[in-house]
Amino acid sequence: MAIFRMHIPFLDEVKAKGLRQAGRAKADDIVTRVTAGLNPSDVRGLLRDDAPGRPNPRLTPHAEGFWLHMRPTYYHTLVDGLYPTFRLGWLATFFFVFEIITGVILMVYYTPSPNAAFENMLNLLGNVFLGSTLRDLHKLGAEAMVLVVALHMLRTFVTGSYKKPRQFTWATGIILLGVTLFLSFSGYLLPWDQLSLWAVTIGASMVEAFPPEVVGQTMNLIVRGGPEFNADGLLRFYLLHVVLLPFIGLIAFGVHYYKVIHHGHSLPPGSEKVGEDTAKRVPMDSRVYFMPKIITRELFYIVALMFLFLAAATFFYEAPLEVKADSLITPLHTTAPWYFLWLQGMLKLGDKVIWGVIVPTVLIGLLLVLPYFEVGPSRRYGDRRLGLSLAALSVAAIAVLSFMGTPWYGVSTSAEQEAVATLLPQTHPGPLREAEWEALQLGSFTASEYASAPNAEMAALLESFHEEVERVNDEARSEAEGVMVIEDWQTDLKKVTLRVIWTNLVDGSPGEYSQVVFLHRQAAYDRGGGS
């Protein structure tokens, strides 16, 4: 009596048909199982774009397989072109997946601790094969994702696709916009350099403004893990970045895409009668089947985007890294990340509670419920002049507010500091650190005599220094002059002193402000090197 019986049907087949025939039949069978319904000749027909047989075997994977059951079997020809979708939703999904993959790989070399995080970055940049490329890809992908998601929202508004029956799709999209922004923002802190610490400190301070005072302070403590960012805060942001936000994003995305497919992609506004939604009623001759048209094209998009991003990260883009975070020194001109600059700009308008908390909350709330109170039946551009004008106005307002959020608007620190910061900024390497090391000639140079500098590079540095030094002269000070002293300090190390001197008009006494920097021949100041 056998304990168990094993029967291998393939052996029977071999006996009956011979090895070659049975092997071919088995291979066909395996391909059909893997593709959830397409045998090899179906696959070849698909790749050759032959006309499908009847019944269309290319529909089977949509019914049988997990991955394709999420995708529609066909699209309307009207939404198949670049307009009206501009592929923005697809792109957002691409970047979400792209960020998950590059992010998980980067986690291999990352420890969320103030003692280790910054050294992890240096290790990635200098010691890990393709480490800096992966970091660049992840950062570049994050910035692209913010942009794409924002444009996707704008497009949906412009074509009126948020209107009935797609109200809830829009609402989940707003949640996804928030997830995208906070994913990017929480990731900002993780390198633990000066840039990340202070940009995130500014952003997180908005939480503290939440009224009443005790609620704001408690929320602030919970978010940062203490009165200021430290080990606890870094860990919290890390967990937000790698667990909670991706989790919320994945769920919101699932709901969002289910709704997109359920209602169908909304057709261009002019192509159907006002008040009608014919997206799900696609005539036979207007169908573009997912297989092979859409799937092969998406494959091509993926390849092209990977190529573009790899090329960009390799040749054109470097994710910035400043010196290690110092919780006791705030760099001059620190700003929030660019996608929160509009908020910074609003904060310069007045009270933190009103402009930093109440106005943004009301705006986001309005966006969330927009399709439930904006119920005009027509999606046509001509019928929506007010809405489209408001959208254009909002885009302009965001651009203006973003400019107002930069240090060029409304931030006036001491002119002598500003003058030194032109050459030696505290938030990025700047012209002096990036200048050709060899071009910095030893000696003492006066900014106003930039014309007689020993070479063009130094002349340019001195001229921009001189222009800023001029602004030190005001009703209290005159005869401002800038001096740059370059000394040979050690082998391959130069000491550069930037000095601003002036005369106080009140008592005729001299005043001076200076800053020193040591420049090494081989330092990579844009890669976390030097100070």
């Binding site: 202070w198 400190t201 500014i202 997180a204 301070s205 908005m206 503290e208 005072e213 408690t218 403590l221 919970i222 893990g225 203490g226 009165p227 200021e228 606890d232 919290r236 006791l328 020194i329 705030t330 760099p331 001059l332 001109h333 620190t334 700003t335 910074q344 904060l347 310069k348 007045g350 009270d351 933190k352 409304g410 931030v411 006036s412 620190t413 001491s414 002598e416 500091q417 505290q426 005043g511 402000y513």
Partner: protein, 208 residues
């Protein structure tokens, strides 16, 4: 669904009576909601950090000799996150002082975080004022805001002046009528100042 609709259209109140099962399901549901709400509250307290004595957030003791002389630049205490300022006659009578905010000579411990967006402001000797590097808010030695975008004066910590026996001789009090922390004249016999970095007095809002 359609039947219910039809009945309600017919005008009859078709709502069936509350059965025992339905009632119990509401009860379980309610208890689950209460449980989840309680868990959410507990999670908030779980995530709320606590502070120990000696570190920032607790009391920091410093000998009276470390107090800078009157009207001299402020002394920075990095571990306690504050600037210790000693206002003399000159600083108290600073003409830049906003109207309605009279200052008296004495000592203040200014929380070194800008009340605008959390950057660390620093002392600029040329302008004799604090300046924030991020958005350019400016404050006098006494902590009064003289230039925005900040909308209030700097926050101060409560200081206790203690004698050799450890008796508290005087402490920072909120100024009458506002929440501004007043400066503390150091009484004779003081040997040490105890700065409570867990007790912050918010600066009065200022419309300058």
């Amino acid at each position: 669904m359609t039947e219910a609709l039809a009945e309600s259209q017919a005008g009859s109140p078709a709502s069936p009576p509350l059965s025992r099962r339905e009632f119990l399901n509401y009860l379980w549901g309610t208890s689950l909601v209460i449980y989840l709400a309680g868990s959410a509250g507990a999670l908030l307290f779980f995530a709320l950090p606590r502070f120990e004595e000696g570190e920032f957030g607790g009391v920091i003791t410093l000998p009276v000799e470390q107090v800078p002389p009157p009207d001299s630049p402020p002394a920075e205490f990095a571990a306690g996150r504050f600037w210790l300022v000693n206002l003399g006659q000159q600083a108290a009578a600073d003409p830049r002082q906003p109207e309605g905010l009279a200052e008296t000579p004495g000592v203040k411990a200014l929380y070194k975080v800008c009340v605008h967006l959390g950057c660390l402001y620093r002392w600029e000797p040329t302008g004799e004022r604090f300046e924030c590097p991020c958005h350019g808010s400016k404050y006098l030695l006494a902590g009064a805001k003289i230039d925005g975008p900040a909308t209030r004066n700097l926050d101060v910590f409560v200081i206790e002046a203690v004698d050799a026996e450890g008796n508290v001789l005087a402490q920072t009090e909120p100024t009458e009528g506002s929440r501004q922390g007043s400066s503390l004249p150091i009484p004779p016999g003081t040997v040490a100042l105890r700065v409570n970095t867990g007790a912050k007095i918010q600066g009065a809002s200022s419309s300058v």
